[in-house]
């Protein structure tokens, strides 16, 4: 049998099914290549979690995080911030009347004045924000209700906005396309805030609020573009469109005095269009530039905030705030990061100590003696 089984392979060796061996090169040796890859011998770094590597990591993280945290916390605490709620919910607050008497179709705007006192002077640039609470700028239907093409000045989108803008796509009466379309644009924050400083001598001076430079550069220069020809006037460029339902004036009249801040590239509009991630948010409203002399930008003392109350929030329990803040290298006043860093750093350090104790007390790793063969 053994002889016969040898010559059995001579003739035709394999059955058809075995031709997956790759058949043709009969003379070729089927020995696999001896490469590090095929033999799974690629050179490799094989790190192991040992006390020697893990424990120092904990200490390093601890020692790194605690100072960072302290730095952040101190920086944050040095930032001066003043916040005032002018919604007018309580009956004896200045804007209570305005808030209550609000109707959409009133032609005259309601103005209310809130006065407040800054105890400490605000040095360097001061930034003025408006804050909204309980305002769901991040609701899916709200977020998608815009047409970026239109805002980018694409002519076809101007006259034929995206369906996403419904129900603010076309004016229900005139059937004209709305520019800018959508719920976001429609709900543009339109309170006007003015700040007056009450000098100790009784004089009132209006604080100069700069309204340019509040939007991101990319938004202002790339993302938002006015439609049509540069040379045409704005009325021409937005011809054939209707203003958003809630707006009192069309988009090309947002800042008639400054063509660089009018239409879609109006910075207040751009800031509003950058929807907030959370229902409570603040948006930059104006910048109060530092004066060239060494006087504080906002000296301590009494101030009046003049509010042209246009924006209704009471129906959904929203709140409106005005915030004045200075800025540091890490942004605005935010104790969270500092505290978090200090906490995490301390925990790391503490864990490092605990693990070190555990490691020394209960270390069961021994040499290879107890490895069963």
């Amino acid at each position: 049998m053994m002889a016969s089984s040898y010559n059995a392979k001579e003739e035709d060796g394999h059955h058809s099914g075995s031709s997956t061996h790759g058949g043709t090169g009969a003379a070729k040796n089927k020995k696999p290549d001896n490469t590090a890859f095929k033999q799974q011998r690629l050179p490799a770094w094989q790190p192991i979690l040992t006390a020697g590597t893990v424990l120092p990591a904990f200490f390093v993280i601890g020692l790194l995080f605690i100072p960072i945290g302290i730095g952040l916390y101190v920086t944050s605490n040095n930032i001066k911030e003043y916040e005032i709620d002018y919604t007018g919910v309580e009956p004896n607050t200045p804007c209570y009347d305005c808030a209550n008497s609000f109707t959409w179709n009133s032609t005259t705007s309601c103005v209310c004045t809130v006065n407040f006192t800054l105890v400490q002077p605000f040095e360097s640039n001061v930034y003025m924000y408006y804050g909204l609470s309980n305002f769901y700028q991040n609701h899916r239907r709200y977020v998608k209700s815009r047409d970026d093409s239109q805002l980018n000045g694409v002519q076809s989108s101007l006259t034929n906005p995206s369906k996403e803008c419904e129900p603010y796509r076309t004016n229900p009466e005139t059937k004209l396309p709305i520019a800018p379309c959508g719920a976001i644009a429609n709900s543009l924050f339109n309170d006007t805030l003015e700040l007056y400083y009450n000098h100790p001598d009784g004089n009132m001076t209006k604080v100069n609020l700069v309204k340019k430079g509040i939007a991101w550069y990319t938004d202002k220069h790339v993302k938002f573009r006015n439609p049509g020809n540069e040379k045409d006037n704005f009325t021409e460029r937005f011809k054939g469109t209707a203003k958003p339902v809630n707006w009192m004036k069309p988009v090309y009249e947002l800042d008639p005095l400054d063509p660089e801040n009018n239409g879609f590239i109006n910075e207040d509009f751009i800031v509003w269009m950058r929807t907030a991630a959370l229902p409570t948010f603040r948006k930059l409203y104006r910048i109060i530039q530092k004066k060239p002399d060494s006087a504080p930008t906002l000296p301590s003392g009494r101030y009046f905030l003049n509010v042209t109350y246009n924006y209704p929030v009471r129906s959904f329990d929203g709140r409106k705030r005005m915030i004045l803040s200075t800025i540091s290298w890490m942004g605005g006043k935010n104790p969270f990061l500092g505290i978090a860093y200090i906490t995490v750093g301390s925990i790391c350090f503490f864990l490092g100590v605990v693990l070190l104790i555990i490691h020394h007390k209960y270390d069961t790793r021994s040499n290879s003696a107890d490895i069963p063969n």
Binding site: M2, N7, G17, P32, N34, Q46, A277, N334, V344
Partner: protein
């Protein structure tokens, strides 16, 4: 495949294509491929969408197209889906291409077909039913054909059926006598017989039909059929008529669809995906309820700025829509790329198996082959191995290794200090160059035997003369000096080959004579009688008249049988030889004793007359013959004994020892006899003398078997109860089985016989059998049929919840290979059937060790880490949306950019985890083999199970929580350093997305144990690609082209240039990673697993070169006598003396023809008997073992 519905019977007429075409039988074209160029796309897509996962994503896609629901753009689903479909389609197409290639190769084989009066070459695929084709020696049979005539007398022909049933011994087929003289083209042309037979079926051993020819009917059976897949042997040519062709041949009908095998990880994965799906729905419901409440309390009032859609009649309806929206955005917890990634991993693991040089067998030029690519990690979880014996554990090569001649042993090699030398590859073998006719492959190491033969020692000469004469081997001398022996059993072949090399060359035989070439001189012996072997006699003898005219009887057989029949003068020699035999047996060799007897002419003539008389009686002929043989085989003189090594394959002992250490139980299932099986058991250390007890179950009736099983079990349990009385609890012995099972210390072995097994596998006994078998360290089942092999595997598979692996090399192992979770085929000598049915194949049993302990373990380890990480990653990624839901009015607003969602799984994080799944190694291969215990976690399912799943999803959830709430805390008042507000959605999205990518990258870095250059490349590459794509997607240019698709313009620039953002990212990363790090550090430090220890060891030893694995070779201490080993079946004795199987040319003309005429009925007996043997191999030998 067969479109002829319900073919009741088949009518085929020879040489009549037109007539046969009426029935539209399948032609000989074979098609296993599934597609062609045009049908590929529709069929493949149809198949792919039948998969639940793909269908699920299509449903999602449809949901996304509904604007009211759509919370994500369509491309977030379609891009991954298309990618997945394309990868799968490419894989299917390649598979099919290879099937096409193999089909084409088979279909284009040449065969000789009789067409219009002459033989013409024709491709296989053009052969039609009813054609008459000619086959030549060593050709494959092209279709199922009816044998008409052959070059051999009586229309005999020989075939090898290895491809069909795995048996390598030759089988005889005989044509009908009426057609056997058609052996010429013109006669065949006129042949117009019509065959009416059964329709195509898959029964290999059955065929019924009738041939109608010249107004006569002849019945046809399987003995006249040559089936496709057989090979013609020892027959110059034959003609046959095609009955079944192509897909209707029995071979093809047998290639049923193999059962689709799934791994336990697969099943677990499916369960988990269902759970995740349920979890997804729960989240959807929670968020939908949240939405309803929110819309009622807040949303209604907020209508001032955000009016409800027209169709949105109520808050509840809004909740309902939100549910679907959330299903869409949260769908990434069921990752679409999971299945594809898993398949890619398995495929590559298979390639690593194919590429492994250490599983490549040089001699046969066979690399290991992973034939299925879906089972790899299951290789790391095997608990039971079922192994065939012949050809799997053993090489199925018998080697003449030692002998004892006249009280002197030969075969061991001694050095100058008279110390026995271990025989290795390097040991110098005896130089047989003095003998021009020697077999080059024969190896012998002891020179003293050659010297003995050369010095004309009569005993040594007689010894080899006997070996050269007393056998039923057929010689074939293809060219001068090129001798090939056709032996019916490998033992005989080995003995005759030994004699040949020692100068007693068996050269030719006729029915009457045997021609030897004795040390250069031709010597012709008259063959007077062959006293054939059978299982009762356990010996065979020949009676010859030597050239000197002396009549001699030469006998070889089992030692016990021979020793009983010796002349008293041999008594001393008998004791000496007996001692040698014990020694041989102790080494696991198969022994035979040899004896001779001088016969006087008178005595022989008397005996011959009796023989002649007896062979003509009809009643009790067998018994009377036996008695007659017994009579003459008395008073023989002992010559010596031979020891044949049933060579174990290389490294079998070590492999078994190693696998045992890995807690893998090895059961041997063999068709061999009890004695042979046990002898192999001893020689590969599965049975040892120091075992407490070896239970042999060989009961005949159910009751007996039951009793034996019970006794054995009580024996085991009872004994241990005595040995450890202190901690044995009171109670029923049997109730505590499970407790004991695990803690067994004593070693037992179970050997069970085929017919006992048949009873033990009955439903009422199978549990007892299984319990007992699991208590034993070694289980050997012998005399089992292929069906029983499968039943045993099935039994374990069903009741033990363990992964089973079956390894075998022959067609008789196919059933068990298909039944087991994993089938491994040894591509040995017994054809390709086992390999074709198997999932993995290689050349040597010892590679199993590497396949399981290295490749299996790695695959399992990698797959588990991969899955754990994958689920973690997707939970961390997706659940952020859930937390965000509470802050955006449950409106299904996504946190991330849509492009990020699209690309996260397929671009940003797919490659590092793939690299880990491909290359990770906790412990290198040497150590994996060195410490087999490393394999155990796989068997216990420790690396990935439901608990691990919960842990990794929990980690994912915590990560997502931190990922959301730390930025939330920071972003509540976030300002840029130029004072502009910064808490907008897009900045929030970019921050969280960047953090997420960094966190999961750091996590995979911690999870990776083996950092190759590829890991580095993928890891850093992914991060770089993330930032590159991030900035590209948010660049002015892209926005300029598609303003509505890339609204995130400039966010990355503005956001990532902020120091505070990086502080947030750093903080979040550290907080997300720390808990996992602490836990894994504590685990490694306080409760190190074996793996951890060995990794540690491995690292500290890095400087030293890894030592070669060195499992001590345990020397066998067995004193057992493998008393008997011999061929399984009755020999060819009758065929030889009848001269039926000889070529006419070699026959010594007239004399033998007479004898043929006399004994023409013999051949039918033989054929009948052989048929019985091959049909029921298990049954035929029952009798002898019972005695």
């Amino acid at each position: 495949m067969c479109f002829v519905t319900a073919e009741k019977e088949r009518r085929v007429k020879a040489n009549a294509r037109e007539y046969n075409e009426k029935f539209s039988y399948a032609n000989n074209h074979i098609k296993t491929s599934k597609y062609n160029v045009f049908t590929f796309l529709p069929i493949n897509l149809f198949e792919q969408f039948q998969r639940v996962a793909n269908a699920y994503f299509v449903v999602l896609l449809i949901l996304q197209l509904i604007p009211e629901i759509s919370s994500l753009s369509w491309f977030t689903t379609i891009v991954p889906l298309v990618l997945v479909l394309v990868i799968t389609a490419v894989k299917d197409a390649t598979d099919d291409y290879f099937r096409h290639k193999s089909d084409r190769q088979v279909n284009n084989r040449q065969s000789q077909v009789l067409i219009t009066g002459s033989l013409q070459k024709e491709k296989w695929m053009n052969v039609r039913v009813g054609d008459i084709i000619q086959l030549e020696n060593n050709q494959f049979v092209a279709a199922d054909i009816l044998l008409l005539c052959s070059s051999e007398p009586y229309g005999l022909c020989y075939i090898e059926t290895a491809e069909l049933d795995g048996e390598t011994n030759l089988k005889v087929r005989q044509a009908l006598s009426v057609t056997s003289d058609l052996g010429d083209v013109s006669k065949l042309m006129d042949f117009d017989g019509e065959v009416i037979c059964e329709p195509p079926n898959n029964k290999l051993d059955k065929f019924t039909g009738t041939l109608h020819w010249r107004d006569n009917k002849y019945s046809l059976d399987n003995e006249k059929m040559l089936l496709r897949g057989c090979v013609l042997r020892n027959t110059e040519w034959c003609f046959g008529m095609v009955i079944f062709a192509g897909l209707q041949t029995k071979l093809m009908q047998n290639c049923g669809r193999t059962k689709f095998k799934r791994t336990s990880i697969d099943k677990l994965m499916n369960t988990l995906v269902l759970w995740i799906f349920a979890f997804l729905i729960c989240m959807g419901v929670v968020l939908a309820i949240g939405n309803t409440i929110w819309e009622t309390c807040v949303g209604r009032k907020f209508e001032l700025f955000l009016p409800w859609d027209e169709f949105q009649s109520s808050a509840v309806f809004s909740g309902f829509l939100t549910f679907w929206s959330y299903i869409i955005i949260l769908n990434t917890v069921v990752p679409i790329s999971l299945y594809v990634s898993v398949e890619v991993l398995r495929l590559s693991h298979s390639f690593f198996i194919n590429w492994d040089q250490k599983m490549y067998h040089n001699q046969s030029d066979t690399p290991a082959e992973a034939r299925t690519t879906t089972l790899n990690e299951e290789l790391g979880q095997v608990e039971f191995i079922f192994s065939d014996k012949t050809g799997t554990l053993t090489q199925n090569i018998m080697a003449f290794s030692k002998c004892s001649i006249n009280g002197q042993t030969y075969g061991d090699v001694y050095d100058e200090f008279n110390q026995k030398v271990e025989i290795t590859e390097k040991t110098e073998c005896v130089d047989f160059s003095f003998n021009p006719l020697c077999d080059k492959a024969f190896k012998f190491y002891d020179c003293s035997l050659v010297e003995a033969v050369k010095q004309q020692e009569s005993a040594a000469q007689d010894f080899f003369r006997l070996l050269a004469l007393c056998h039923t081997v057929m010689p074939e001398e293809k060219s001068e000096g090129n001798l090939v022996y056709q032996a019916q059993s490998p033992d005989e072949g080995a003995l005759v080959t030994a004699a040949r090399n020692f100068g007693f060359i068996f050269r030719a035989r006729t029915p009457e004579t045997i021609t030897l070439c004795e040390r250069g001189r031709a010597a012709t012996y008259d063959l007077l009688a062959i006293l054939d072997f059978n299982n009762v006699r356990k010996r065979m003898s020949v009676i010859v008249r030597n050239p000197q005219g002396q009549i001699k009887l030469y006998c070889k057989g089992a030692d016990t049988i021979i020793f009983d029949r010796l002349d008293p003068s041999s008594e001393d020699l008998m004791y000496a030889t007996s001692e040698h035999l014990s020694e041989f047996a102790g080494e696991g060799l198969r022994t035979l004793a040899l004896a001779y007897k001088d016969l006087s002419k008178e005595y022989y003539q008397v005996w011959q007359k009796k023989l002649h008389y007896v062979s003509t009686v009809i009643e009790n002929r067998e018994e009377q013959l036996a008695a007659l043989y017994e009579e003459i085989e008395q008073g023989m003189k002992l010559l010596g004994a031979t020891a044949i090594e049933d060579k174990l394959q290389e490294g079998v002992q070590e492999t078994i020892a190693c696998l045992n250490l890995a807690d893998i139980k090895i059961w041997v299932l063999t068709g061999d006899k009890l004695e042979t099986a046990m002898s192999i058991g001893y020689s590969c250390n599965m049975l040892r003398d120091d075992m407490d007890e070896v239970f042999v179950i060989s009961g005949l009736t159910q009751l007996e078997v039951q009793q034996q099983l019970r006794n054995a079990k009580e024996n085991i349990l009872g004994l241990r109860r005595l040995s450890s009385t202190a901690d044995v609890q009171k109670g029923d012995v049997f109730a505590e089985d499970s407790v004991f099972e695990e803690t067994i210390i004593s070693e037992y072995a179970l050997v069970i016989n085929g017919h006992s097994l048949a009873h033990a596998l009955e439903p009422q006994l199978e549990h007892t059998l299984l319990d007992l078998a699991c208590l034993c360290k070694t289980v050997i089942c012998c005399r089992v049929t292929p069906m029983q092999k499968a039943q045993v595997v099935e039994l374990v598979r069903r009741h033990k919840m363990a992964v089973t692996l079956a390894v075998g090399d022959g067609a008789n192992d196919v059933s068990m290979i298909k039944t087991a979770h994993i089938g491994v085929g040894i591509s040995g000598q017994e054809g390709m059937q086992a390999v074709l049915a198997s999932d993995y194949s290689f050349a040597q049993f010892r590679y199993l060790q590497r396949l399981l302990l290295v490749h299996g373990r790695w695959s399992y380890f990698r797959m588990c880490n991969f899955l754990a990480y994958f689920f973690y990653k997707n939970f961390a990624f997706t659940l952020v949306h859930f937390w965000y839901g509470f802050f955006c009015g449950f409106s299904a607003q996504t946190v991330y950019d849509q492009w990020f969602i699209t690309l996260f799984n397929i671009v940003y994080t797919s490659l590092p985890v793939l690299a880990m799944g491909l290359f990770d190694q906790d412990v290198n291969d040497q150590n994996s083999l060195r410490y087999p215990s490393l394999y155990k976690p796989g068997q216990q399912n420790l690396l990935f199970n439901k608990r691990q799943f919960f842990l990794c999803t929990l980690q994912g959830m915590v990560t997502s929580f931190l990922l959301f709430f730390i930025p939330y805390g920071a972003f509540s008042v976030m300002l840029k350093d130029d004072g502009s507000d910064f808490s907008d959605q897009q900045a929030f999205a970019v921050t969280i997305a960047t953090t997420l990518v960094i966190v999961v990258s750091v996590q995979i870095g911690l999870d990776t144990h083996y950092w190759t250059a590829v890991n580095h490349l993928f890891m850093w590459g992914s991060l770089i690609v993330y930032f590159a794509i991030l900035f590209a997607m948010q660049s002015d240019g892209l926005f300029g082209i598609f303003p509505s698709n890339f609204p995130f313009i400039g966010t990355a620039r503005n956001c990532l240039s902020e120091k505070s953002v990086w502080l947030v990212i750093l903080l979040t990363t550290v907080v997300c990673i720390l808990p996992g790090l602490v836990v894994s550090f504590l685990r490694i430090d306080l409760f190190p697993t074996l793996t951890d220890k060995i990794r540690h060891l491995q690292q500290s030893r890095k400087k030293q070169r890894p030592q070669e694995q060195n499992l001590r070779r345990v020397r066998r201490t067995s004193s057992r006598r493998s008393a008997y080993a011999f061929s399984h079946q009755q020999g060819y004795g009758e065929l030889i003396t009848s001269g039926k199987n000889m070529r006419v040319s070699t026959l010594s003309s007239s004399r033998s023809l007479e004898r043929i005429a006399q004994s023409s009925s013999w051949i039918e007996n033989i054929l009948k008997r052989k048929n019985e043997v091959s049909a029921e191999p298990a049954e035929s030998h029952k009798a002898d073992r019972l005695k």
